[in-house]
């Protein structure tokens, strides 16, 4: 027996001992969470982890008959790693449910594993139109553009905007931003006069803005995240364009206002989560977030992750005693009017969430809810 064997043996013994000790106190149910903790998208993954830990600490302190443990694995937003993690989670018979991943690409690659092995998967952010269609095991806690696009188109039609320019990032999500929105604009009698995709992280939006200005639209509809959004808004103001800008909940992030400053004023967007919402669960989450991270208010994505974890925990509770992957899946599918910080969540027959959208506008450096 060499030193490595000894180490493995010691590790196994420690695992058995700690497992035994935990069993003696209270049964433990395990769930997995695959997310990017390093790499290009690590800032999102770290936020999810913080949100998950807040939700978990609250659950475990609330005197339930069992404790839950979340196994975090770093996928670096790389499909190779995501699939390997999925296999790892599937192999662990104690894991009865999985959260994640962050990007649609990694979520969908991993979903192939969860589909074949029969493991419920709940992503807080995967927005690919085909993600939930992969199998009965895939759920998501993000409003898709199938809901948001028409909602925004109606909102803009109500404001009397007829000629609309659309830009979106060149991702699976950006594609759905444009297609869902444009369809509803047409049925409302409006016209999409310009539509273009840009690659994420584009530094210079001015050629696109110049082209938009040439079409003289009544308003601009945008599908971007806060980094690109801030660039776009600043450069638009530099070029002296004052056309109203509308956006999706993906742009909802306090950092957008920090980066764009006064240039963000007057931007319209939809959101499912506003930290200023006086509902007790929202205020509880915002306070816990500030205390844990020392950051400002949480954005849309951590809020979605927080709700996703809570929905999963509630499903575990329903599946108790003897939770199995099948039981957890059925419990998830039965989720109805779950009171979360991103509004009440109900999964429809296609495992898509229906949520109430809030209209908001940037005013005085804040996102403020508006009625129209």
């Amino acid at each position: 027996m060499n030193r490595r064997d000894l180490l493995i043996g010691a590790g196994l013994a420690a695992l058995v001992a700690s497992g035994g000790a935990a069993l003696a106190q209270q049964p433990v149910v395990k769930i997995g969470y695959q997310l990017p903790l390093t790499g290009n998208t690590a800032q999102y993954g770290q936020d999810f982890k913080n949100a998950a830990e807040i939700a978990l600490a609250k659950f475990n302190a609330s005197g339930k008959p069992f404790k839950v443990e979340i196994v975090f694995e770093d996928s670096r937003s790389d499909a190779k790693e995501g699939i390997a993690i999925a296999r790892k989670f599937v192999d662990d018979k104690q894991i009865v449910g999985v959260l994640g991943d962050f990007t649609s690409g990694v979520s969908m690659a991993s979903a192939q594993v969860y589909k074949s092995a029969g493991m419920p998967q709940l992503s807080q952010t995967a927005s690919h139109p085909d993600y939930a269609k992969i199998s009965e095991w895939q759920f998501r806690n993000i409003t898709t553009q199938a809901q948001e696009g028409p909602y925004n188109a109606d909102w803009m039609a109500d404001q009397g905007f007829k000629k609309i320019a659309v830009i979106a990032e060149q991702t699976d999500w950006g594609q759905t931003v444009v297609s869902n929105f444009a369809d509803e604009v047409k049925t409302k009698g409006g016209e999409v006069v310009f539509s273009e995709f840009f690659n994420r992280g584009l530094a210079d939006f001015r050629p696109i803005i110049t082209k938009i200005a040439r079409e003289k639209p009544d308003a601009i509809y945008t599908g971007f995240f806060y980094e690109d959004g801030a660039q776009f808004l600043k450069q638009m103001k530099q070029l002296g364009l004052t056309i109203p800008v509308y956006s999706t909940s993906a742009a909802y992030n306090q950092k957008l206002i920090e980066l764009a400053g006064a240039d963000a004023e007057g931007m319209h967007l939809t959101a499912t989560f506003l930290p200023s919402n006086p509902a007790p669960q929202v205020q509880e989450f915002v306070a816990a977030w500030k205390e844990k991270t020392g950051q400002a208010e949480p954005g849309q994505f951590p809020a979605q992750a927080y709700d996703a974890v809570n929905i999963m925990l509630a499903a575990l509770e329903k599946a108790w005693p003897e939770p199995t992957r099948e039981k957890v899946r059925d419990a998830l599918a039965a989720t109805k009017d779950f009171p979360g910080v991103t509004g009440d969540t109900t999964f429809d027959a296609d495992r898509e969430p229906a949520k109430k959208l809030t209209k908001a506008v940037v005013k005085g450096g804040q996102f403020v809810a508006v009625s129209n």
Binding site: L37, T38, G39, E73, D74, R76, S77, D78, A79, K80, E81, I83, A84, R87, K88, V90, D91, T103, G105, M108, A109, A111, Q112, S116, A117, H128, P129, D130, I134, Q170, T171, D172, W173, G174, Q175, F197, N199
Partner: protein
């Protein structure tokens, strides 16, 4: 006698190890995760081996290899979904598709020498990536492609990681054998002469441009085969799988293993795929450790683990006078010849 026996023994040992010992050990653990990691490692062994032929043996510093891997994966995925072909057809066609693109890429770039060639392949790799991302009607763009048919061969469904392992292993071993025969032959020596001094090789009567295009095509073919293996084992591909960092990862495998050595490329791929997985329990520090291993392996072993030629020497030669601080003399090579 022993000289004839030795290669046979090596082949037998590799076959027993890859098709006997490894599956037996993995089977004993019975964890699909281990098979998954083994499959991934084998796919990258094939990618590193295919790059070894161009960069290690022929000495052409290639910075866009992941693009050929992507062309193969997309060819396989589109043939499997739109044309409904099975793995038995998509595998060779993916190789041929990638080889075809590699020849197209090689025709204009072969006139470039040294660092200019490297930058040109970097640009072409990026262009092919953007084609995958933005040619939405054909590649489905950022939506990626779902391959629902899985890995079927002669009507058998081999999608489970344990059975997929044998498919991936057999394809990889056969490809390695071909690459080994190509690089350890008179033909391989001709390629090596390009690496050492292509003008001298030209003067000796070798058709250097043709040799370079051929090595590019063969390398692209096997990268395409690796792409088909990835597409069918993963079940979903998107452009992000074939972006620039993947090219660098493959290059790092070849350099760490040792330029010009096929076993080196294999070991380099195993190290750079297995190390991040083994280090998973370490958490956030695992990437730093992998980076450290890369750094120190180049610092302490400039020739890689088992290399024929030092990576630093190759780069120095690629940069030519600029590296030695001589400046460019009138009439000396400035990118074209």
């Amino acid at each position: 006698m022993s000289d004839r026996l030795r290669p046979l023994l090596v082949v037998a040992a590799v076959l027993v190890l890859v098709l006997g010992v490894v599956p037996a050990v993995l089977g004993a653990f019975d964890r699909s995760y281990l098979y998954q990691v083994a499959n991934l490692a084998l796919i990258f062994v094939l990618l590193a081996a295919s790059m070894h032929l161009v960069t290690g043996v022929a000495g052409l510093l290639q910075l866009g290899h992941a693009a050929f891997y992507g062309v193969g994966a997309y060819t396989a995925a589109l043939l499997a979904t739109d044309a409904g072909l099975s793995f038995g057809w998509t595998l060779p066609l993916a190789g041929l598709g990638a080889a075809f693109v590699a020849v197209l890429v090689a025709l204009p770039t072969m006139r470039l020498v040294s660092i200019y060639f490297a930058v040109a392949t970097l640009g072409i790799g990026q262009m092919l990536y953007l084609v995958m991302l933005n040619w939405v009607p054909v590649t489905k763009g950022p939506n990626g492609i779902l391959i629902t048919s899985g890995l079927t061969l002669f009507g058998y469904d081999l999608s489970r990681p344990a059975s997929a392992y044998f498919v991936v292993a057999v394809v990889t071993l056969a490809s390695l054998w071909v690459i080994h025969r190509l690089s350890h032959s008179y033909y391989g020596n001709a390629l090596r002469s390009l690496r050492e001094d292509d003008q001298c090789a030209d003067a000796m009567g070798l058709d250097t441009v043709r040799l370079k295009i051929e090595s590019f095509a063969v390398s692209g073919f096997f990268a395409g085969i690796a792409g088909a293996l990835w597409a069918h084992t993963a079940g979903y591909i998107s452009p992000a799988d074939f972006s620039f960092p993947q090219s660098i990862l493959i290059l790092a495998m070849v350099v760490v293993g040792g330029l010009g050595s096929l076993p080196g490329a294999v070991i380099g791929a195993l190290v750079l795929i297995l190390l991040p997985e083994v280090l998973r329990p370490v958490g956030d520090f695992r990437n730093i450790i992998v980076g450290g291993v890369l750094f120190f392996s180049i610092l302490l072993m400039p020739k890689g683990i088992i290399g024929e030629v030092s990576a630093l020497d190759l780069v120095r030669r690629q940069l030519g006078g600029a590296w030695r601080g001589e400046g460019t003399k009138a009439g000396s090579e400035v990118g074209w010849r």
